[in-house]
Each structure stands twice: as C-alpha cells, then as structure tokens.
Amino acid sequence: MKPETDNNIAVAARNISKKFHITEDSHNTVKQRLFRMFNPPHAKIVDALKMMSFDIKRGECFGLIGRNGSGKSTLVRMLAGVYPTDTGYVQINGSTMLMNLGVGMSHELTARENIYVSGSVLGLKIKEIDLIFDKIIEFAELQEFIDVKIKFFSSGMLARLGFSIAVNAGADVMFLDEIFAVGDVKFQEKAIKVFEKSWIEQKTVVLISHNMGIIQKYCQRVAYIKNGNLEYIGDSETAIKIYLADNE
C-alpha cells in the first residue's frame, strides 16, 4: 500500500533493495541461449543494496556518502526512477534529473537541439526554453558552437553544456553525483556560485561526494552507505564522523 501523498516529501523509498546478476559471458543472443540451454553460465549474485527505507524532504539538500562500490550510484539511480527496485518501491513527486559527468544528451544532435530536448524532457515548455536558451549558452561559454553537433565537442565543452542545462532548466529533484569535478578551475568557481544561488535555496538536491567539506557545508541530512547497507541517516556531522572513523 502506498502512503498518503505528503506535500513535504520529494522522494519516499520503502523497503527498497537491489541485486545484480552477473554472468561470466554476455550470453545475450538467441544463438548463445540455445547453445547453452543445458549448460547455462554461472551467475554471480551481488547484493548491491540491502533493504532500506527513508524519505527525502522537499527543499532539503540530502547528502550521500560511502566508499567506492558501496552502492551510492545504484541507490541514486533507483531514487531517480532510472533503475527499477527488486523489492519495495520509490515514490517520486515531480521530475528528476540525475547528473554525474554529463546529463542525457545525444551526440548526433547540435547544442541547440540538445538544449531543447533536455529542457523538454525536464518538463519545460518550448516558450520557457526560449527564455533561458541564451543564458544556457552564455553560461556554458559556447556562443560560437550553438549549431555544431556535440560529437565534435571536447569533453570540457560537453561537461559545461550539461552543467549549464542542469543549472538553468533543472528538475524538481536533482541528483548530483560528484558534479564539482566539471570543467577548469574558473568554471568550477562559477558552478559553485550558481549551485549555492539557485539550487540550495530552491530545489530538492541529493548530493553525492567524496569531499566531506562540500557535504558538511551544504547538506542538512546525510546517509552513509557501507557495503549496500544504510549504516546511518541523520545529521551531517555524525554521518561524517562515522564514515571517517570507519575508514581510518
């Protein structure tokens, strides 16, 4: 049974868990399946995330910490509605956007087309995208490359465009996976400024970072994930303390 809709909750996760079945070979054609019908490859089951439940409140900045491979990225994908859960469910109120090194962009499209597609996917109307179009291009410093296919862009240009779309279009709930590694130092300064100005105050943000300074500075609540377990959820100071003590 789903809970009553609570206006203060942006994402509600209930009894969610995730296992991955990893096989030795790809085993993904009809031919392979027929030939190996009586001798299926051994599948290894990885408990990526063990049963957990929690809420993310509307308007809060929620931190997610843990070592590499602890399950943070899998959790974020489930919370954003990209991966299905094996058990339980995730209830999302509004649109979500997951951002790591880039956002969803097609390399076959130009910067202009990608801005319109991404903006539209994030729930904006064409007129609304028209209004922020120049801002996106200016912020990404791509004025001379508007109608160039992004497959010809450098990785820095791509990252700036993705960041700029995310900053200006945004979704109701933003999942930011190590985003402060984008672009050069100058761009990073600009990114942090805009992050503080437009996201922290106006949107629900889930921030994943290995930088405890950033987590401490921005997040009101933090979840610490260890080997797929939700070890702690609560105030950021305690979460960071447990995490650092575990890693000593």
């Binding site: 991955f20 993904n28 054609t29 009809v30 031919k31 399946r33 994908r77 954003a80 509605g81 990209v82 991966y83 299905p84 999302i92 649109s95 979500t96 956007m97 997951l98 951002m99 956002v103 969803g104 962009m105 097609s106 076959e108 499209l109 087309e113 319109y116 597609v117 539209s120 996917v121 994030l122 729930g123 904006l124 109307k125 064409i126 979704a171």
Partner: protein, 265 residues
C-alpha cells in the same frame, strides 16, 4: 490507463510539445542528414513501386488495372509498419540518453518515432494523391469513403507500436533479434496482400487474410480509396482486436523487461 495518458498529454503538461519536438528531430535525423534530404523519404516508395511495376506488369504481364495505385497504397502502409518495427529494435539502446538521467516515461520515446513516421506517411500520401488524381489512367477520384482512412491509420499505428515495443524489449535479452526479425519481416512481405491482386490473394493465401495482422489494413485501405466501397467491417474489427492484443503484450513487456533497460543495455 489510456485515459490517464490522454489527460497527461492534453492537460497542460508539456508532453504534447515534447512529442512534436522529438518527432521532428527524429524525422530530421533520418532524412535531412542525407545529401538528398527529404527527397529520400519520397523516393523510397516511388522506387519500390517502379521495381515491382516492372516485375509484375512488364515481365509477368499481370494486366491488373490501376496496378500502380494498388501497389502504392500497399507499399506506403507496409513501409510505415516496417520502419516503425525494424527501425526501433535498438531504440532502448540508441535513445538511452533520454531515460538514463531522468524519470521520463519510455513510451514517449516510442510515440515520437511513430510521430516521425507519420510525418513520412503524410508526405507519401501526398505523393500518392498526386499520382492517383493526376497521372493514373482512367477517371480516378477520391470519394467520401476516404474518411475511413483515419481509423485504418489508427489501426496501423496501434499495430506498429505493439510490434515496436515487443521487438525492442526482446533486444534487451537477445541482440540477434534484429537478424531474426529481418527474416520474419521478409516472409511477412510476401505473405501480405501487397503485390498480389485480390483474386490471387483470395485464391492462394485466403487464410492469411485474418492471420496476417497487416492484411486487414491494406485490404481495407484499397477498398475505400480505389474501389470506393465501405470497408469490410468484420475485417476491420478483427484488425483492431489483433493490433490491440500486440499492443497490450508490448506494454506489458516494456513495463517488465523494458524497466531494466538502463541497467542491462
């Protein structure tokens, strides 16, 4: 569920705009990228028509009246189905960028490809009308019966979407579905009433009229356009039942198998 989708599309969200935007971009990607651009979209059915016309009229001397118009209708409907089904087998892989970072409903991606193919169908229908009214021998004309072209196209859309969903979700498990489908589709072409006269189809392949899901669509389209008759109602009803059946299977597969596309592909 259908009501919810309609409400979503027309109830003040940006979904209708997004559908149109993605359809236009898909159409542009498919045709504008070539040097001949949009002309390719029009050349395809004309060249097909020419090839089969030469084979059946000149070589086999079938002597069937209005054969080009007859062929033209069959081919543009078949090509719409084939492009929607074959062209989308890898869609969950090629359009991953649309659903990998957001919670956008995947069905919208499929609808945008159907939208793009509808733009192509519109241009093809214009070309057909031009040929039918101005070039075809005899006094050919459109009667009020052409109004039934709308439900026939709706039937075609439902059928194509169903196949598109089924094939593209099987692709997650079996990548060689593309090769298998090409063989099935090729067989389907020869077992559909595209090239054969109604007499030949009825005498040799009669049972396929109901078994082959695209038969009802092609037969009824010709009945209303060329012969100015009402559609065969029983056949049309069967066509809708058949197409809906495939669509429901497709939606089920998208919700089960397709939900895992982001992690499997």
């Amino acid at each position: 569920m259908a009501l919810n989708i309609l409400k979503d599309f027309f109830g003040g969200t940006n979904k209708l705009e997004r559908f149109w935007l993605l359809s236009k971009i898909e159409f542009k990607l498919r045709y504008y990228e070539n040097i001949l651009g949009l002309i390719w979209a029009l050349i395809k059915p004309i060249s097909d028509c020419l090839i089969y016309y030469i084979a059946f009229e000149f070589i086999l001397k079938s002597g069937f009246p209005q054969y080009v118009s007859f062929l033209f209708i069959g081919l543009i409907l078949w090509n719409f189905f084939l492009e929607s089904a074959t062209g989308t087998i890898q869609i969950l892989s090629t359009k991953k960028y649309l659903y990998e970072y957001t919670n956008m409903n995947k069905i919208e991606i499929y609808l945008s490809v159907i939208g793009s193919n509808l733009i192509g169908l519109f241009f093809n229908t214009l070309m057909f009308s031009f040929y039918f009214l101005l070039i075809e021998n005899g006094s050919t004309y459109f009667s009020w019966h052409v109004i039934f072209f709308i439900p026939i196209i709706l039937n075609l859309i439902i059928l194509s979407l169903g196949f598109s969903l089924i094939l593209s979700t099987i692709y997650i498990l079996a990548k060689d579905i593309q090769q298998i489908w090409l063989i099935v589709a090729n067989l389907g072409f020869w077992l559909s009433p595209i090239l054969f006269s109604p007499d030949l189809f009825n005498s040799r392949l009669r049972t396929l009229k109901y078994i082959n899901p695209i038969s009802s669509i092609i037969i009824n389209a010709r009945t209303i356009i060329i012969y100015h008759h009402l559609p065969e109602w029983k056949l049309m009803a069967w066509g809708f039942v058949y197409a809906t059946f495939f669509l429901l299977i497709g939606i089920y597969m998208l919700n089960t198998l397709g939900a895992k596309a982001a992690e499997k592909l």
